[in-house]
């Protein structure tokens, strides 16, 4: 009975240990997944995810949400959508951070109902203040997009007053009010609030400029020139919205008949900004137009002529760039300047292209969201193609390695060496046993454990004894053997005395050496056993691997081909769109050129008419 209980105890203990061990390994896998996720290595995180998905319970729930967020991060919307729909149906207990990432991506995709659902799942206690502010901004914007303005307004009132996200929320709310044709004091107050409560940072300054610009444009459209002027004046002179503000400020002045005051912002615009900016080009024609309005016809004519020359040079430059656009490596230069080599949504990409003639002309196209997305997609495809090419090469190297492993394993070089080592070890063990036997016999033998000198002395004693025996046998009367016998016996006695005195020391030394040898033999035995095991395990390094590698190689090659093809298509699409943009730009320059040439012709014609009529070339009215 006791034996049975003992067995049961052993079984239950080992089962519990195995379960514990499994749990611990799972914990490590989960921790590894989080490490990759939190340090932004999403592809590695995806690899880990599969390993602990099957564990069930809360972990699998978390994995669902995280996987959906990561798929969205990598641009795989459809897969994420499927998981998200399942989460919505089944409910989930994922962390707030995971729901936030999901909300962020849905927001980017303008899926506003999904944004609201994801934010509803977040718990404020679990997340940082900056995450809360961004979530509140997304919630407000989602309400605005869904037409629920009151909820949006209520949401804004709960946000930190001077946060940047609050500023963005107010900005979107102002735009929604413009769209709804709202006006009046409340709108003015809202704009004042939105521009006043902003953080003192570059981002805050740019947002302030943006709100002032849209407010200025809105008031210009409504014919409220003074209000428009107030807001346009507030736009800073060194921000991304400066050109538009300067141009509109000038037109506002023209509308009010203040022609002189319109010229200054336009001249500023032409001096400080890219000549291919639509605002700058418009101002090039605006200046002589105003000069005409103030009846400075000679100056207007000269300005038109200068403008015509500038526009002709610009047209030639655009046409030259357009002709060589496909061969120009501007996209490759942009990709090579990126420090982050990961792909997907969360890759840290520098979206500003290196400044050169091509990018300067394409500037306005390169800030368009859809074009930037296409460029990012092209970059992803370049990275993926490079990755696949590298993996294909690696797999080919793996085949060589596995072949080598198989060849070496089949050549069976290890077994003869192991057997030889085993034979040597057996010999050593036999020698060890002999030594052990000698030690045991040493108590009975009088000349036991001799060293080299002693062995010589023993053989001398034996030889001497034989000589004495021979003399005795001869038995000559003239020879007395007795002194020799006595001398031999004396020497033997002294020798025996010396040996017996050294014996305990020798025995102790031999015992010590035998213990050390025994330990070494045992170690060698273990080592030989481990080598045998390793040799038995060796086939696992190649058995069945070649077939797996070949399958993977085929898959990799297929995806690589497809990736290279789509990469080329993507580049062609980008080039085509850029060419179209440059064609449009050429058309626009052509229009401006036509206008300037028409104006030049008209002014010359007016002057001629005037000369014919008056006989003088003086300017009219001056």
């Amino acid at each position: 009975m006791k034996f049975l209980l003992y067995i049961l105890l052993i079984i239950s203990t080992s089962t519990a240990f195995a379960l514990d061990s499994e749990q611990e390994v799972l914990r490590l896998k989960k921790g590894e997944y989080y490490y990759h996720y939190l340090t932004g290595d999403f592809p590695s995180a995806m690899n880990q995810l599969a390993q602990w998905r099957s564990s069930g319970g809360a972990i699998a729930d978390e994995a669902d949400v995280m996987e959906a967020a990561m798929l969205l991060s990598l641009g795989l919307h459809q897969q994420a959508q499927d998981i998200f729909e399942r989460i919505q149906q089944e409910g989930s207990s994922a962390s707030s951070q995971a729901w936030f990432y999901l909300a962020q991506r849905w927001f980017e995709l303008e899926q506003f109902e999904s944004v609201l659902f994801s934010i509803e799942q977040m718990s404020i206690e679990d997340i940082s203040a900056s995450v809360i502010a961004e979530a509140q901004f997304m919630k407000t914007s989602a309400f605005i997009e869904l037409g629920e303005h009151k909820k949006a307004q209520k949401q804004i009132s709960t946000m930190v007053r001077n946060g940047i996200w609050t500023g963005y929320a107010r900005h979107n709310y102002i735009l929604a009010m413009f769209d709804g044709n709202n006006s009046g004091q409340s709108l003015a107050l809202l704009i004042e609030d939105a521009t006043y409560y902003l953080p003192q940072s570059e981002e805050g300054k740019n947002l302030k400029d943006r709100i002032n610009l849209i407010a200025g444009l809105h008031y210009l459209q409504g014919g409220r020139n003074r209000s428009a002027e107030k807001h346009l004046k507030r736009v800073s002179l060194d921000g991304p919205y400066t050109p538009a503000a300067l141009l509109q400020y000038g037109w506002g002045q023209v509308e009010q008949g203040r022609y002189d005051q319109a010229l200054q912002p336009w001249r500023e615009l032409q001096t400080r900004f890219n000549r291919f900016d639509p605002e700058v080009m418009e101002s090039m024609l605006g200046v002589p137009h105003v000069l005409e309005l103030i009846r400075a016809h000679s100056q207007a004519l000269k300005t038109y002529e200068v403008t015509e020359k500038r526009l002709t040079a610009m047209k030639a430059a655009v046409e030259h760039i357009n002709a060589g656009l496909a061969e120009d490596q501007w996209l490759e230069r942009w990709i090579s300047q990126q420090k982050d080599q990961s792909w997907g949504w969360q890759a840290n990409i520098e979206k500003t292209l290196p400044l050169d003639d091509t990018t300067a002309v394409l500037k306005n196209l390169l800030v368009e969201g859809s074009f930037v997305n296409q460029m990012t997609e092209y970059r992803d495809l370049v990275l993926l193609s490079d990755y696949l090419i590298e993996k294909e090469e690696n797999l080919q190297l793996w085949i060589t390695l596995v072949d080598k492993r198989e060849r070496e394993s089949k050549a069976d070089q290890a077994n003869p060496i192991i057997n030889k080592a085993n034979q040597k070890l057996d010999l050593v063990k036999a020698e060890f046993k002999n030594l052990e036997a000698n030690l045991h016999k040493s108590d009975e033998e009088i000349f036991a454990l001799p060293n080299q000198a002693e062995e010589k002395k023993i053989s001398l004693l034996v030889e001497s004894a034989k000589g004495i025996e021979r003399l005795i046998q001869m038995n000559k009367a003239s020879r007395n053997v007795e002194p020799y016998k006595q001398r031999w016996a004396r020497v033997k006695g002294v020798f025996l005395w010396q040996m017996s005195e050294d014996k305990p020391q020798k025995k102790w030394q031999l015992k010590k050496e035998l213990v050390a040898i025994n330990r070494l033999i045992k170690q060698t035995d273990t080592q030989l056993l481990e080598v045998r095991l390793a040799n038995q395990w060796a086939p696992s390094a190649w058995l069945g691997m070649k077939e797996r590698i070949l399958v993977m190689l085929e898959q990799t090659s297929k995806i690589k081909q497809l990736s290279l093809q789509v990469r080329d298509e993507s580049k062609q699409a980008l080039i085509a769109e850029s060419k179209q943009y440059l064609n449009d730009l050429t058309h626009r320059i052509n229009d401006y050129l036509s206008q300037s040439r028409l104006s030049i012709a008209r002014l010359y014609d007016d002057a001629l008419q005037h000369y014919v009529a008056t006989g003088s070339i003086d300017e009219k009215g001056e």
Binding site: L28, M46, N47, Q374
Partner: protein, 173 residues
């Protein structure tokens, strides 16, 4: 002129709101293909990862070294240096982001190794600063035994509230 204003307003408004709401939902044909490639690459990457693991470290010799931090109140690691049987040195320097990830419960996969059967000696030194900002080294030397199953070795910096200090510990499965 008003028409121009209206058009400009529309353009600027759409551009302006596009900053936080940037993406076009209508993916082009190329985008669809790119998405399909990304999906295939992810699946392929997963299979390649498994294959490379099996090739580099068959289960019989596979050993993984992991590093984790429990709370991290009394010690913040800057680097770890590990040797196994006085060979195969593993060295790692930590960034702030990685330390934050470890503090949140993440476990760092330091290295996958090939270990033969039998007993192996692990020496580990974790360098960093304690809660008073003073430089500290946590040192550990211990043996682990490898059988024919994969071996998981976890090096953990554990806070000890009683002595108000951290210690380096090792576990194996």
């Amino acid at each position: 002129m008003r028409l121009i204003y209206l058009m400009l307003l529309t353009i600027v408004s759409s551009w302006v709101i596009a900053q936080p709401i940037a993406e076009n939902t209508q993916a082009s044909k190329i985008s669809q293909k790119a998405i399909s490639i990304k999906q295939s690459v992810l699946e392929l990457n997963r299979n390649l990862y498994q294959l490379e693991e099996d090739l580099l470290s068959p289960a019989t010799t596979r050993a993984g070294v992991y590093f984790s931090l429990s709370y991290g109140e009394f010690f913040e690691p800057y680097s770890v240096n590990i040797t196994i049987d006085d060979k195969q040195p593993i060295q790692y320097l930590y960034t702030k982001r990685q330390v934050d990830a470890l503090r949140q419960g993440a476990v760092q996969p330091l290295k996958n190794l090939n270990l033969g059967p039998g007993i192996h000696t692990i020496k580990a030194i974790a360098k960093g600063v304690d809660n008073n900002g003073k430089n500290r080294e946590l040192v550990l030397e211990q043996t682990v035994e490898k059988h024919d199953k994969p071996l998981y070795i976890e090096l953990k910096i554990q806070d000890n509230k009683e002595i108000q200090s951290a210690e380096l510990m090792i576990s194996q499965w």
